[in-house]
Each structure stands twice: as structure tokens, then as C-alpha cells.
Symmetry: C2
Subunit: 210 residues, 2 copies
DNA sequence: TGTACATCAGTGAACGCGCGTTCACTGATGTAC
DNA sequence: TGTACATCAGTGAACGCGCGTTCACTGATGTAC
């Protein structure tokens, strides 16, 4: 078992706090959000079971920190995608949707701690701030789109962003993870792309021949 | 604590198997999918911790049975909704979407065991059959819709059903459950209804003034 | 209708396990002088 | 540059706990005759 990815530099670990977060991320993927244990995270970081208490209040606190880091990364990616799509409101919006799925794919550990571990996003202020920042990007992108919509059929921007968030989340949960042999003939990426495309056409933002 | 909802009729319980399933459903809502324990289910049913082993192979087996019952109910509801919407393909389709959300609302325990407990749907044949039956209704409804779509923009029916499934699931996970104080200004019902509406317009199935 | 007996559905004690957490401790590090 | 000392970040033993599961058992039920 060469589990220990973090090398000890002697009696002191050097960077135990982050090593524990990293261990959490991999464990949560392997064992599921609740199968994760503090003891095992400590083991993987190569320290005793008591050591984590120098850095975290307890198990919950560690998970929360992992989720917080996830939301920060997530928000950064969403912002980057949004900016990259500019100045086209449409391109920017579509890019954020794609960024959502890409994040879930590339950061499964973060995704699990954020959305499946049972942490209360609203309870921890640091978490809430980061989560809000991410969601704000999406709402912003939807706001930009509004200008291009037929005025008679213009839903509130936050409704649009909620729709896209829900669609993205649903695609991730049902088709981007879970057991292989999930019977979908389409990739999660295709599903999200096509789904958003049809939705945007419904908003009058894409022509029938575009 | 008047936890015991099932009354014992003496030494023999009478209907322990189902009582354990029922206990699972309530516990899973209260404690989360993994916080659920076999011992506690037994306690709630008023029997010793060893009794469940007369009816289930173990913890996992019990959860699986709860999920299976959930998928059966779910499939029944979807079929009923579909039939009720007939003969209008559109009405039938929209009704299945609504049925999805209604099921999640009214059967949170089932929903959790089905989608959040980590049971492998593909692994257990009985589970898979019931799940397939439910999903088949949705795909069927999408198939019906195809006839009304502009031929040049007609995605595969199973793609449409996957879109709707993902949107419904996302709405449920993000807005129909979880901590109160979820900041959405829209109800899950409104979000799903409006989201599906926009999507269907994108398919050319609803006119701009309908 | 009564009885013997097989089968069924529970009990309760016991097990080993790993967990989260606390505690007094000690080795390593950094800093004042 | 050297030394005393405070602080920091670990150790390892111990705790109480509840879990899942097994086991020999026993009370209740159903059935053959």
C-alpha cells in the first residue's frame, strides 16, 4: 500500500492541513460522502488519528473546508468561462454551462463534498460566500442574455440561471457519475450541450437555422 | 419517545418485513442516506437488532428493497400521469414531468434510497426492471411528441427524455429538498414548469403565443 | 376436536471492529537576549 | 554565535460508543392425523 502521497519531513508534517483536505477529496470519491472517516484521512496523510485536531475542530469541519475550496475553484472557473465567452452574451452563457460539467468531471471530490456530503451551505458563512460568488456568475450571464430576448417572452434572469443550474446538476448526477453501464447512449457533455441549445432556442435566442 | 408506529401483536410481529422498509424510509429522511442504520430500523419497528436478518440479507438488502418499492410507485405514478394527459401528446408529456416532482415531494424517503443512498441500480435486477419501467414512460411520451415536431429539428426521443429527467432531477435536488432558506425566489414547481415550457418551445412544440 | 411435531419468527447475549475524540506527553521550531 | 525558553505540531494510549452480524435458544403458529 503506497497510500501516503504526502511525504513527511520529520516529526512535523509541514503541510498537514492541506494534506488532510486532499485526503478527504480522494477518500470521498472512493468511499462515498459518508464512508469517509477522519481516521482514514489521517492515516493517508501519514499521521496519527489525533493529529487532525490541531487543524480542524473535527470531522465536519474538515469536510466543510474541502467544500469551501471546491466552491472557490468552482467560482473561479465559472468566472473564467464567462470572461472567455465575452463579448458575446450567448457564448459567455454557454461557456458557463460547460464549465459546470467540466468542474464536476475534473473535481469529483470537491463536487461530492459540495453537493452530496450533506454540509449545510447556508450554515457556514465562508461556504455561503463562495457558493454565492459562483452562482452570481451564472445569474449575471443570464442577465446579459435578457437584452437579446424578445421582450414579450423574457423570464427573470435568475429564473433562467436556476434552470441552467438545475439542468447541469441533473446531468452531472445522473449521467456524469455513478455506476458505469449507465444506459445513456449520449455523453453527459452532449446531453448538456443539446439541452441548453434547445432551451436557448425556446428563449428566442437561437434561430431555427443557426 | 413514541417512535414505534408498528404495533406488535405478540411474540410475532406480523408484518416485520414491511415495517422495516417503512422505518428505513423515515430514518433515511431524518438521518440521511448513510446515517441510516439497521439497528435503528429494528428499534423503530420494536424488535431486536437480530430480527431483521430473518427478512433481509443485511443492511444493503433492506435499502435495496426500499428503493425497489420506490421505483415501482414511481413508475405507477408516471404511467398514471401519462395516461391522464392523453390523448394530447403535449399534455401527457408535461404531466410526467410534474409527476416526477410530485413523487419526490411526497415520497422523500423513497427518493433518497433510489437516488442518494448509493445503491447500484444496475446491480440489482429487480431494481433495474422497475427503474426501466419508469424511464420507459418518459421516453414513450417523448416519442409521441416527435410527430408534432418540425422534422428538421427533431432530436431523438431518448435524448428529450434524458433532458427532462435531468432537469427534473436537478430541480428536485437543488430546490425541492435541502436546507430551508434555500435562496430561490421560485418554487420548485414553478421552476420545473417554466423550464419545461421554455424547452418545449425550443422544440417547436409551443407557439410564442400559446 | 385434540395432540404431536415441524417450521417459522422472534430473542438476547456476545463478538470484533473502527470510529471520533480527549489527554498528558514530547520532539521540533523559532525567537529574545 | 550560543543558549534559555515559549510555542507549536505532533504522538500514542485510552475511552466509550454503536454498529453489523452470528449464534444457540425459545415462544408461537400451522398442519397431519
Amino acid at each position: 500500500m503506497a497510500e501516503k502521497t504526502e511525504t513527511r519531513k520529520g516529526y512535523h508534517h509541514g503541510n498537514l492541513r492541506q494534506a488532510l483536505v486532499d485526503a478527504t477529496l480522494t477518500l470521498v470519491v472512493e468511499k462515498g460522502p459518508q464512508g469517509f472517516t477522519l481516521s482514514e484521512a489521517a492515516r493517508q496523510a501519514g499521521v496519527s488519528a489525533a493529529a487532525p485536531y490541531r487543524h480542524f475542530k473535527g470531522r465536519e469541519d474538515l469536510i466543510e473546508e474541502a467544500a469551501r475550496q471546491g466552491f472557490e475553484i468552482f467560482a473561479d472557473l465559472m468566472e473564467a468561462a464567462y470572461n472567455k465567452g465575452q463579448p458575446s452574451a450567448l457564448a459567455a452563457f454557454e461557456a458557463t454551462g460547460r464549465a459546470y460539467l467540466a468542474f464536476a468531471r475534473n473535481n469529483p471530490g470537491h463536487y461530492i463534498t459540495m453537493f452530496e456530503s450533506g454540509v449545510s451551505i447556508t450554515a457556514a458563512p465562508a461556504l455561503k460566500d463562495a457558493a454565492d460568488r459562483a452562482f452570481f456568475v451564472l445569474t449575471n450571464a443570464a442577465e446579459d442574455l435578457s437584452a437579446h430576448m424578445p421582450a414579450d417572452r423574457r423570464p427573470p434572469a435568475s429564473m433562467v440561471s436556476h434552470h441552467i443550474w438545475a439542468l447541469s446538476h441533473g446531468v452531472v448526477e445522473l449521467f456524469a457519475r455513478g455506476q458505469p453501464g449507465s444506459k445513456s447512449p449520449f455523453s453527459a457533455e452532449d446531453l448538456l450541450e443539446s439541452g441548453i441549445g434547445i432551451y436557448l432556442r425556446g428563449l428566442g435566442l437561437i434561430g431555427a437555422d443557426e
